[in-house]
Structures are given as C-alpha cells and as structure tokens.
C-alpha cells in the first residue's frame, strides 16, 4: 500500500523541482489535447515554446514581445505573492489593473494638450493610487467587517470592467475619434507615452518597474521584519498573533501593495503596448498573474522566471493560432492545466510517498 507521510519540513529539492516537472507534464497533457483537436502535438509545442525565441522568421518580432508581456504579469504577481504567502487571497488584480490604467489615463488626459516632462510621472503616481484605492475596498471591508476578501475583490473586477466600458464610451472617449469608442492614443502623445527605452528589446518603464519590484520583494521577504511577519502569518496565524504581528495592518499592506503594483502595470500598459483606454483593455493579465505567482512558488526570482514562461505561452499561442489554426482558448486551457498539475504535485513538497506493508488490524 502506498501512503503519504507528512514531512517535518517542506522539501527544498521538490520545491524547485515541481514547477519544472509541472511544465513538462503540462506539455505532455497539452500535446494530448492538441492531438485530440487534430493538430500535430510536436509542431504545436515547438511553435509555442521554441519558435517565438529561436525561429529566424519570427524571433525578431517575438523576442521583444516577451518582456512586454512578462512585465505586467511579473508586477502583478509580485504583489499577489505577498498576500498569498500570508493567506490573504486577493484575486481581483484584474480590477486593480484596470483602475490603475483608468486613473492614470484620466489624470494625463486632463492636462491634454499640455506638453511637460512632469505629466508622465504624475500619471504613474495616479495609476499606482488608482490600483491602491481599488484594493483598499476589500482590504478595509476585511479589516473593519471581516468581509471575505476573495469575493469582494473578485466582484470589483466586474465593476471595474463596467467603469472601463463607460470610460471608453463616454467620459474618456477621444473627442476627435469620429465617434469610435476608446480614448486618445496615449502612446502617441509625447508627454504621456511609455516608449521602448532600448530599441529592439521591448524594454519600457513597466519592464524596469517589474525588475525593481522583484528586487524589492526579495529584500522585503528575506531581510526585512515585515517579510518575516508575512511568512509567519501564512504558516501559523496563531503564532503570528502571539508574536505581536498586527494582522489587520498586514492585510492593508499586502492588498495595498498588490493594488499599487497592479495599478502600475495597468498604467504602463495603457501608455505603452495597449496605447489607449478601450473596452477590451482588460486582457486577463490579472488572472494569469495568479498562475505566475504560484508557478514561481511565491518567490520573487521564481515569479520572474514564471512570468517570462507565461508570457512565452501568450506569444507562442498567438503564433500557433496564426500558423496552425490553434484556437486561442486552447492556450487558456493550457495555462489552467499548468496551475493544476503544479498544485497536484505540491504533495511531494509537503509529503513523502511511502510504501508500507498493510498492517494487521
């Protein structure tokens, strides 16, 4: 008989090995899925994971896209990971991302057509504040009334999407846009744009912010008292309370940080790659970032790598759609499977598989 026996301490080796094994297993399962859909599984996997980086024809276009797509995922996931570590479940990052973009774009466009150096920094601040305030709604409701933050933060995504629609259709609509929905194109207004900083790399201010967030989170988690308190709260809320951790403050901090980072991600996206506020601006980065956070083991460096990998699946998925006619939804299934296999394999981190002889009862 096979039994799972709890390990006294989570296994370090398995902690690192499981994400890699999960990716491999998902590739196999994904290959089966693609084969069921009548596609060549090997061609599909190669198109998704290899061609965007190394194919002579596409790499020149897709390599820079890697950082463009990874930056918002990493920024958001870093923020989420702090809360997830402490058992605070903010799953409304998508809403905070939208609100950051809306707040930043609104502040910028309020000054249109002023051309000044301080407009973009002001928009960045507004974007952070927008995401922060949106995250404060579940945070304050949680600390004040003990309301479930999972449901509130998620409901706020749907509300943010409606606000986005109303912005694109009415109050931020481009007055010179011939009646089409959507705001002015911010990426074409010099004072508001978030340009590519190093030509051909895809590096924009959001990428810089993402790397800074990774470093800051690493320092916070490993070298700072607050990081210790976050980890302690996640592992043993009771012990944390005895150790004097102010749990309400922690909720505000974790949700607030996630809100700021998600808001910044939205702002950098709307001023750069997306270019404008439009109805379909929310592309699901806030949800994919949840996968990134877990795949990265809630560790800053892990999140950096996981963000790049998930970005690759987005780019490769588009390429596979274009080259092989693979439906875009299959990438979503693929990403969902990745999270599932990873979670399933977690058992090897916390438990030991033992073969035991059946005892006489």
């Amino acid at each position: 008989m096979i039994k799972f026996v709890k390990r006294p301490e989570p296994s370090k080796a398995w902690t690192i090995a499981t994400p890699i094994l999960a990716v491999i297993l998902t590739m196999i399962l994904g290959g089966v899925l693609f084969a069921l859909m009548g596609k060549d599984p090997f061609a599909a996997i190669r198109t998704i994971f290899w061609d965007p980086l190394f194919n002579d024809q596409f790499a020149a276009y897709s390599r820079p896209q890697l950082l463009v797509k990874a930056a918002p995922l990493i920024l958001i996931a870093i923020g989420l990971s702090l809360g997830f570590k402490a058992g605070i479940w903010n799953i409304g990052a998508e809403g905070q991302y939208i609100m950051g973009a809306l707040a930043g774009a609104a502040v910028g466009l309020a000054f249109y057509p002023t051309d000044a150096w301080w407009i973009f920094p002001l928009m960045v601040i507004a974007g952070g504040i927008g995401g922060f305030l949106w995250a404060m709604i579940p945070a304050i409701l949680k600390t004040r009334f003990n309301t479930n933050e999972i449901l509130v933060s998620l409901m706020l995504v749907y509300i943010a999407e409606q606000l986005l629609a109303s912005a694109a259709l009415s109050w931020l609509r481009n007055p010179e846009g011939n009646g089409f929905p959507g705001s002015r194109n911010l990426s074409q207004i010099p004072a508001m744009s978030n340009p590519e900083l190093i030509a051909g790399t895809g590096t924009h201010w959001g990428v810089v912010a993402a790397f800074a967030a990774v470093v800051a989170a690493y320092v916070l988690i490993n070298k700072h008292m607050l990081g210790f308190q976050i980890r302690l709260t996640g592992e043993s809320p009771r012990a944390a309370r005895f150790a004097g951790v102010k749990d309400k403050l922690l909720v505000l901090f974790c949700l607030g940080t996630a809100g700021v980072l998600s808001g910044l991600a939205g702002l950098f996206e709307v001023t750069g790659p997306a270019g404008q506020i439009s109805i379909d601006f929310g592309a699901g980065y806030g949800f994919t970032a949840i996968i990134v956070a877990f795949l990265g083991r809630l560790h800053p460096v892990g999140i950096l790598l996981a963000g790049l990998l998930l970005a690759l699946t987005f780019i490769g998925g588009e390429l596979a759609q274009f080259m092989l006619g693979l439906p875009s939804a299959s990438i979503q299934v693929f990403q969902g499977m990745l999270l599932m296999t990873l979670l399933g394999m977690d058992i090897f981190v916390n438990y030991r598989l033992m073969v035991v002889k059946k005892e006489a009862l």
Partner: protein, 309 residues
C-alpha cells in the same frame, strides 16, 4: 423614461427564470461547503455545464439530454478538483481558482463551432388548474421543468441535511473531520460525493443559462454568476431556504436592471450592469458585519484533511 412598459407580472415571472441558475449553483456549493470543502471553481463548472448542455442539446435535439450532459460535464470537472484536494491534498483556494481558469478556457474551446446556433426550445410545463389563476398563475405556474426542479431540490437538500442520517454524517464531516474520521466515517468519500453533487448542480445552472435564459452559446456566457452563487452561500448562512431568498433577491436585481435598461432609464447602462455585483458586496458586508454572521460557517471549511493513521 417609461416605467409603464414594465409589466410587474412579467417581471416577477422572469425573476424566477433569472434566479434559477444562481439558485442551482449556490445550492450545490452549499452542500460542498457543508462538508467542509470550499470550491471556488463554481464559475468554471457552470460554464462547462453551459457548453456541454448546449452542444448535446443542439446535436440531439433534446434539451433533456442537454441538461443531463450539463450535470455530467460539471461533475466531471468537479472530479478534477476532488482529485486535487482530496487525493493530492492541495490547498482548496488555488485549486478552485485553477478550476475556474481551466473551465472557462475549456468551455470556449469546446463551444467555438456552436456560436450563433439556436438550441431546441424548452416547452413550459404549465401546471394544470393552477396556471390560469390571474397574476399568480403566470408568475408561479407557467415555467419550464427546471424551475420546478430547482425549487424541489431546495426542499430536498433541506430535508436531507436536517433529517437523514447521511446528511448528519455530511455535516459532521464539515464540522469536525478528525472526530468524524475517528468514528469511522469515510471523510474523503463523503467530500468527493459532495463535490460531485456541487459540480452537477453548477453544470445544470450553467445549462439553464445557455439553453433557456439566453438561449444561445457565447464565450463567457455565465458572466460572474458562479461567483455570485458563492456569495449567496455566505449570504444564506449555509441554510437551504435562505439560498432561495438570496437567489431570488439577485435574480430580482438582475431582471430589474435589465428592464430599466430596456425602458431607457436615465441611469448609465454601465451602472445598471454593475448593480448585481455592487449589491453582492453590500450584502456580504451586511452579513459579515453582524456579530455572529460568519459563525454559522462549517468549522472545517477550507481545511485539509489528512488521516495520519
């Protein structure tokens, strides 16, 4: 604005139709949570049920087969969750999220060739003798089969949890899994069955949207209903009859805001569309602000059970 165009009888009758999907999904999730398991995958199971039901109903021409397929589809997806949380001992919150992410993608993948098709119509089952009572007849007794099924299942779940031995065991598992295990009850099996029931109910609710409420298939058709269902379980304080109240309350808000949109109310459409979600937040706050609001939650909700011996 023309409030005169809103007919209260039609409004109340359509309220019952709008509430049924949430009612079914919330009732299923309540049973799951009563067994101590928090499955955040309701939205994913609902939309999987919606697409399975739609495909089978279109291909077979039979809505009944469609509903059966929807229940099976929701249940099949819920078994993935059961495998993760009950066998591989995964934390339930991320496992449920994974289920939703995957379900939404899967549904969109399966349904891509079914956009714009019309499902076979579902005939209303008018209750003879009662359906012609003025006002009450059209509101209560001229509905499709599933509306009656949903009402019966509320009563059924209530009686099951309150009076049956199996219901008592299910509650025991949800309140104290170690004690239930020590008494020899199969904690894991009870939970797997409960998760399967929740999946089937969510699937039914989803198919009700794609086959009756809308009725057609579009991506993201469940539009957050699964999440509202989760909130309704909290609102209902894990009591079957209150699920009915909660679902009808939200069905009412949904129908009212749709009618106001159609009547051309001088309120922004976006504000009306977000109103069910706003109302959900308000209700969650009110429930949790009451001193004993959350104390009715099953004590083991979300906890992992691992028998060490």
């Amino acid at each position: 604005m023309d409030f005169g165009s809103i007919n209260p009888v039609v409004l109340l009758a359509s309220l019952m139709v709008a509430s049924t999907p949430i009612l079914l999904a919330a009732l299923g999730e309540m049973v799951v949570e009563k067994s101590g398991v928090l499955n955040l995958g309701v939205e994913g199971m609902m939309i999987t049920g919606a697409v399975c039901g739609f495909i089978v109903a279109v291909e077979s021409g039979s809505p009944t087969l469609g509903f059966i397929a929807a229940a099976l589809g929701g249940m099949a997806l819920s078994m993935v969750f059961a495998l993760l949380t009950q066998v591989f001992l995964t934390t339930q919150v991320p496992a449920g999220l994974a289920l939703t992410l995957m379900g939404v993608g899967l549904a969109s993948l399966l349904g891509q060739n079914y956009q714009g098709l019309k499902p076979p119509p579902v005939t209303d089952l008018n209750i003879p003798g009662l359906d012609h009572i003025p006002v009450i007849g059209p509101i209560l007794f001229q509905h499709d089969m599933i509306v009656y099924v949903s009402l019966l299942s509320i009563a059924g779940v209530w009686a099951f949890l309150k009076y049956s031995r199996a219901g008592l065991i299910l509650r025991a598992v949800g309140e104290n899994h170690s004690a239930a295990h020590a008494l020899g009850y199969p904690v894991r099996m009870v939970r797997i069955v409960a998760i399967g029931f929740g999946g089937a109910m969510a699937g039914l609710g989803g198919a009700y949207i794609s086959l009756i409420r809308v009725p057609q298939w579009t991506d993201g058709i469940t539009a957050g209903y699964g999440w509202i269902a989760l909130a309704i379980v909290v609102f209902a304080s894990w009591k079957a009859w209150r699920i009915l109240i909660g679902a009808y309350l939200f069905g009412g808000i949904t129908v009212l805001q749709l009618n106001l949109q159609a009547a051309g109310a001088k309120v922004p459409v976006e504000l009306l569309s977000m109103s069910p979600f706003l109302a959900t937040i308000v209700v969650l706050v009110v429930i949790s602000a009451r001193r004993h609001g959350a104390s009715n939650a099953p004590a083991m909700l979300g906890r992992i059970f691992h028998a060490s011996h």
